[in-house]
């Protein structure tokens, strides 16, 4: 039962108790009124008796007084009948006191008869003696009626007292007990809920179920509404936290991208400007030397200008490759790695000629690799050319070994050399742009390894390196599903 119904029941019970009590009071008061009416009846009968006594003593008859006395006597039974309502009548009938009404009716009848006698006497239709006789008969009846009236009224009133008062008491008791019970159930369900909600989080993993079982009615509705509200609020908080995190991480990555771009722009412009301004100055010297007739110096500087221009070209090409590495291409075909190595060797003739370093390549693929050939050509060429450039002159048989193979779901490229190695403190910067660690032997743009990294990231792969003064190994791992 929900709380509002319990409270409604309490109200109904209290209202019933109050109305029964009030009704009883009225009924008891009515009993008193009947006694009062009877007393008046006796009083007026006594007055009439006195008038009759005067007639008996041969005194003149005061018709008016007698008539008014009779009218007064007649009034009480009338009032009495008016007072008795159907419910009173039912009660009287139940306890056999309904003769009260008969008594009243008879009393009125006799009073009416007596009044008729008075009229008859006035008209001279009735003798003084007969009139007196009639009056005496009436008096006897009146007195007798008064006596008879007392008993049933007393009986009725005591019946009402005996039944209604215990009833009121019983209802009151029931009410007290029931109200106490209801208020206890209401407060205990609130208390239980409070306990449940204030218990430690770890002691009720299934709070939702507990709440479902232990609450009902309005409390359940309250809990459901509160829970929903809290959930929504938490969700809002979570959402805003998540949103903030997203914004923060995006801001950070944008900031990083921006910083990288600024760094790139600075380094690129520096590395572009350097050979250009060098060539400009050299060209100026060439002109002067030719004027002065020093063709030897002029042709030497012209060669340096040519080399500067070549360097510039390499750099521009590498920057373009780096920009392209970010963009995917639809040029995906099965790659012939044998041909790729042959082509690469041709391009690296300048580096391999007069180079004591031995290049060994093995290709061991169980599935055809389908991807953008240019990416793999650039990855392999950069790693191999680095190995060839930075070989260790102090070692007897310098080598660069490149293995291309697959194992189950993974594609591997490893490039191992016994070259001079990368100093430990610079190993973290290998894939940064414009980094060169061997100033004397460095000829590249400083973008090669950054380009390799970009390609591998594009292919969802990873590149790692191990390096010491014994040599360097680069290991590239790419999931095969990207290459089929």
């Amino acid at each position: 039962m929900n709380i509002s119904r319990k409270l409604m029941l309490i109200v109904i019970l209290t209202a019933a108790e109050v109305s029964i009590t009030v009704y009883s009071a009225f009924e008891i008061a009515k009993g008193a009124k009947f006694h009062q009416l009877n007393f008046l009846h006796l009083k007026y009968t006594h007055q009439l008796t006195k008038s009759v006594k005067k007639i008996e003593n041969d005194l003149p008859i005061d018709i008016n007084t007698i008539e008014s006395d009779i009218l007064l006597i007649r009034q009480q039974p009338i009032d009495c009948i008016e007072e008795i309502n159907p419910l009173n009548y039912a009660v009287m009938k139940f306890i056999n006191t309904e003769q009260t009404l008969t008594i009243c009716e008879k009393d009125i009848e006799i009073a009416d008869k007596t009044l008729l006698s008075v009229t008859q006497y006035e008209k001279g239709e009735l003798s003084r003696a007969d009139f007196l006789l009639n009056l005496n008969v009436a008096l006897v009846s009146f007195n007798k009626h008064s006596e008879m009236f007392e008993e049933p009224i007393r009986k009725t009133v005591s019946f009402i007292l005996m039944t209604l008062i215990p009833l009121v008491i019983v209802i009151s008791f029931f009410n007290i007990i029931f109200i106490s019970y209801l208020s206890r159930t209401i407060s205990s369900s609130i208390r239980n809920l409070t306990l449940l909600l204030s218990s430690k989080p770890e002691s009720n993993i299934n709070l939702d179920d507990e709440l479902d079982i232990k609450t009902s009615g309005e409390l359940k509705a309250l809990v459901i509404a509160a829970r929903q509200r809290i959930k929504n609020d938490l969700l809002n908080i979570e959402n805003s936290i998540e949103l903030k995190e997203i914004i923060n991480s995006q801001t950070a990555s944008l900031q990083q991208a921006n910083d990288e771009l600024a760094q790139f722009a600075y380094r690129a412009s520096h590395d572009l400007k350097s050979p250009l301004s060098g060539a400009k100055s050299l060209a100026h010297f060439v002109i002067e030397d030719i004027k002065a007739g020093d063709t030897e110096e002029a042709s030497r500087n012209a060669l340096v200008i040519y080399q500067q221009m070549e360097k510039l070209e390499t750099l521009v090409v590498d920057i373009l490759l780096l920009a392209k590495a970010e963009i995917g291409s639809e040029d995906r075909y099965v790659i012939d790695f044998n041909q790729l190595i042959i082509d690469m060797k041709e391009r690296l003739t300048w580096l391999m000629k007069d180079n004591p370093c031995k290049l060994e390549t093995t290709i061991n693929l169980s599935v055809p690799i389908k991807s953008e050939k240019a990416r793999f050509a650039q990855i392999i060429e950069n790693l191999i050319s680095n190995g060839l450039k930075y070989y260790d002159r102090n070692k007897d048989s310098p080598y660069v070994r490149c293995n291309i193979f697959n194992e189950q779901e993974t594609f591997f490229i490893t490039v191992t050399d016994n070259g001079m190695g990368i100093p430990q403190k610079h190993q973290g910067e290998v894939f940064d742009m414009f980094k060169r660690f061997h100033a004397q032997t460095s000829t590249g743009s400083g973008l090669g390894m950054a380009l390799v990294k970009k390609h591998i990231e594009y292919l969802n792969g990873e590149i790692s390196l191990q390096s010491s003064d014994k040599g360097t190994t680069f290991k590239i791992v790419i999931p095969l599903d990207k290459l089929i």
């Binding site: 600075y266 520096h270 400007k273 350097s274 050979p275 250009l276 301004s277 060098g278 400009k280 100055s281 050299l282 010297f285 340096v304 500067q308 060169r436 660690f437 100033a439 004397q440 460095s442």
Partner: protein, 149 residues
């Protein structure tokens, strides 16, 4: 009395840039003894070997002017200046000043560089001719030239 050529040091990893600077010095008719180092590390080592180099080059050490590039491997120009300012307090090279010689014109770098009071000038590669170079070099080392002549 034979004329002693004042010594200078060029610190630059780029061979072409070193050649250009040497040639401009020659064009400007500045008669100098020129030392060349390929990065800040080499230059510092050269200066730190003070005693032996004094013996090795009795009239040519220490240099009175250093032309310094910024972008170099190992120890770059800015790192060199830091270490050089400490070195100046330890050995007798306080008369040696620095002129920057770089293609970089980054404001934040320039600020750090010019905060060293021994940095006396900033030459941007490819933006000056022999006459201008002579003027700047003379302004910085004029009094030394008197001493050496």
């Amino acid at each position: 009395m034979t004329k002693i050529k004042p010594p200078i040091l060029i610190v630059d990893d780029n061979e072409v840039d070193r050649y250009i600077l040497k040639r401009l010095i020659k064009e400007a008719k500045l008669d100098l003894t020129i030392f060349e180092k390929k990065d800040g590390q080499e230059a510092l080592e050269f200066l730190e070997n003070y005693e032996s180099n004094r013996i090795k080059y009795p009239d040519g050490f220490p240099p009175i002017l250093i032309f310094l590039d910024i972008n170099m491997p190992k120890v770059n120009g800015i790192q060199f200046l830091e270490k050089f300012s400490k070195l100046r307090k330890m050995i007798e090279i306080s008369s040696c000043v620095v002129m920057m010689f770089s293609s970089s014109e980054r404001e934040e770098e320039k600020k750090i560089i010019m905060s060293h009071d021994f940095v006396k000038g900033y030459l941007v590669k490819g933006s000056f001719q022999a006459a201008e170079l002579k003027e700047k070099v003379m302004a910085v080392i004029g009094q030394h030239l008197d001493k050496y002549s």
